[in-house]
Symmetry: C2
């Protein structure tokens, strides 16, 4: 794989992990974030300062991993936005979870500026991001895929190639988030219900993990509740945004999504109760409060 000059916009846990994977693959990696500490952390790890006033390199690949659609638009088209600073033919890999319509609009505008755009939401969490083992749900023009290839090879274990139109990747990610969010809320409801019936949670997790009631999220998150460990691997605060996107897209399509709406309300309640920065398994605490139940690790 030839050496490339790349950049990552948004150096949260996912963006930092992606930058590390790109560095490990031998590429030059610039990092940008409004939080200077995050930029310093990347520079300490071998990256370069990607702040607009500093960068002067020929960057051919930009991975955008900021928090939401508004931030995507700002980093691409705002004052000192990346679109006006990338060299012709460069590719922008949009990995923020956004609505399919928004991804299509970004692709149109980016292509109009002579660049390529790959609609490429990611899943897998921060640990896998740092290991180059993400799952990418990607769609875009053949030229965008070709230009993005070196970056995808460095960050992804699996690339789902979902066609040549931007928006399909984001739609697939929305389907995944609908299920993942509902399953986490169901996990919390089921564990609280189990406690209310006097069941021992460790045993519940063992039995259910081998039964028809299991889910990937149950097996991944329920142990956090059993351990009373709410250090955020993925935070409660992600879900009002991601399920909000699903609900919004569904409403525009005229499709009622009551399971999504109910889970969304649970995560909003958890965030409002002060658990927004905790691991998303903390949605279980809302149930425990309402049912006056004691979870493991609580006084």
């Amino acid at each position: 794989m030839s050496h490339r000059v790349m950049a990552v916009a948004g150096l949260g846990s996912m963006g930092h992990g992606i930058a590390l994977s790109l560095l490990s693959a031998g590429h030059t990696v610039y990092g940008a974030d409004v939080n200077r500490d995050r930029v310093s952390r990347l520079v300490a790890a071998g990256g370069r300062d990607g702040t607009a006033t500093v960068v002067s390199a020929d960057i051919d690949t930009l991975v955008v991993v900021v928090l939401n659609a508004a931030q995507v638009e700002a980093v691409l088209f705002g004052a000192q936005g990346w679109v006006s600073r990338l060299k012709p033919g460069a590719v922008i890999i949009g990995s923020t979870t956004v609505a399919p319509d928004f991804a299509r609009r970004m692709a149109d505008q980016v292509e109009g500026a002579g660049l390529h755009y790959l609609d490429a939401p990611i899943s897998g969490g921060a640990a896998r991001a740092a290991e180059g083992r993400l799952s990418v749900m990607a769609s875009g023009s053949p030229a965008a895929f070709a230009a993005a290839e070196p970056a995808l090879a460095a960050i992804a274990e699996t690339v789902h190639r979902l066609g040549d139109v931007a928006g399909t990747g984001s739609a697939m990610k929305a389907v995944n988030q609908l299920l993942a969010g509902v399953h986490i809320a169901a996990m919390g409801e089921a564990l609280a219900f189990a406690v209310s019936q006097g069941l021992e949670l460790g045993r519940v997790v063992k039995v259910i993990s081998g039964s028809a009631g299991t889910s990937w999220m149950f097996e991944n998150r329920a142990p956090h509740v059993v351990d009373g460990d709410y250090a955020p691997r993925s935070a409660v605060g992600i879900w009002p945004k991601d399920l909000g996107i699903v609900a919004e897209i569904a409403a525009r399509a005229g499709l009622p999504v009551p399971m999504t709406e109910t889970a969304l309300a649970r995560f909003r309640a958890a965030a409002e109760a002060g658990f927004g920065a905790e691991d998303d398994a903390a949605v279980t605490k809302i149930y425990a409060r309402e049912g006056r139940l004691k979870l493991p690790g609580e006084p």
Copy 2:
């Protein structure tokens, strides 16, 4: 394993499969059901007519697989109920999905009559029942477990031993049904959402099955929707009952269960729309109607 004389009360798809497994293990098996055709079907397969007026054998094991708590009470304690007809020391294996309180009451009454009671809900479906590969979530006295051992060995691939008090098995089954029911409704919602976004369902099932949004139920049921095949492996009509039990238990414990309530409402809507006897994946059709979407196999 020594030869035993056993009986199965309730010869629906699960009970018939259980009776076949007991026959395969070499036991004598009487079968009883209000539907005479079902009794004849078992007799044709090598079983015996377990109707009260016919039976005179020394039955030491009774597996109860009727539809609900009212039927359990009737077959055990009604006119010509089994409790008064079994020999002292016989075991009753209660495999109907019921509330934990009800299972405890049955155990008390059965033990008061000089018999053993094992609270032993099952999961796995009719095909696994006939293969002797069910999963059993069991609790009861050591004497009940010992007496039930030959039957459990014949019908179960996995026996979860959940302690010596009746009710724990039923509580664990309720946790499983909460999650399973919510996951099926979520599967329907996610597939309808995917259709609304123009995604190809076969591709969706493939991608999601390898992603964080997957569940056992998604992987098992979503292919039915892709194939447009709603022949009932497990029917919509099961869920208003099973999720109704969960909601009732939770209400008694003072725990709100909004995910369960939402899924319950979806299955009730599906049953009211005429899909009660179809495979439970048909909950997807409710979404398709509401969103005016076309599912595979529909005209």
